[in-house]
């Protein structure tokens, strides 16, 4: 059972960085098309495959070191 993961970094000025993982083929584009349309203009889009395996652990460590804040 594959897991789909969406990661977002919402900058102070409203700019959004989005990372989509765990999709096969081009289905990842479909997965976030509606969201991207609702958010605004996509300025950069890169296809990745293995690049995120390294980043994943880094991100997890980073997240663990910081406190969670709820609105």
């Amino acid at each position: 059972m594959p897991q789909k993961t969406l990661r977002f970094k919402i900058h102070q000025d409203g700019r959004v960085e989005e990372t989509v993982e765990g999709f096969t083929g081009n289905s990842c584009n479909e997965a976030t098309k509606n969201l991207e349309n609702a958010l605004g203009k996509v300025t950069v889009k890169k296809k990745t495959s293995d690049a995120f395996i390294i980043n994943q652990n880094e991100n997890l460590n980073q997240l663990n070191n910081e406190s969670n804040v709820t609105f």
Partner: protein, 130 residues
């Protein structure tokens, strides 16, 4: 296949915009659909607010940019933060509200939410697919 995108957020939908304004604690004025400026000049808007310090602010749909744009009289701006900072805060919260509602519709759950030191918000959402 995965992808990485950078998106310039635009205020494209009323619902997440209203949610964002509420979340930030800016009271929306449902009765008035205009912003009164210098010398009593009125401008019609779709969403209007009274910020503390008698600062009148509204959002008006713009057909050229296909998004809501801020309407205010800068000469009468007395709110505690500069107008640029106000727009940034609203845009960031709009992006947050849009992401939360759209991903929920698609069955994603929030697994991590972090407020970073640089003022950004990081979100991780997942979905299991059989």
């Amino acid at each position: 296949m995965s992808h990485f995108s950078t998106i310039k957020t635009q205020l494209k939908e009323a619902e997440p915009l209203i949610n964002a304004l509420n979340k930030l604690g800016y009271p929306i004025n449902q009765d008035e659909k205009f912003v009164k400026g210098f010398k009593g000049k009125f401008t019609a808007v779709d969403i209007s607010m009274n910020l503390p310090g008698e600062t009148k602010v509204g959002f008006k749909w713009d057909n050229n940019s296909n998004s809501y744009e801020l309407v205010t009289d800068l000469d009468l701006w007395k709110f505690e933060i500069p107008v640029e900072r106000f727009i940034s805060k609203v845009t960031q919260m709009y992006a947050y509200q849009t992401i939360i509602s759209k991903t929920k519709e698609d069955g994603y759950q929030i697994v991590e939410q972090t407020n970073k030191n640089d003022g950004s918000i990081e979100l991780v959402l997942t979905k299991w697919v059989s």
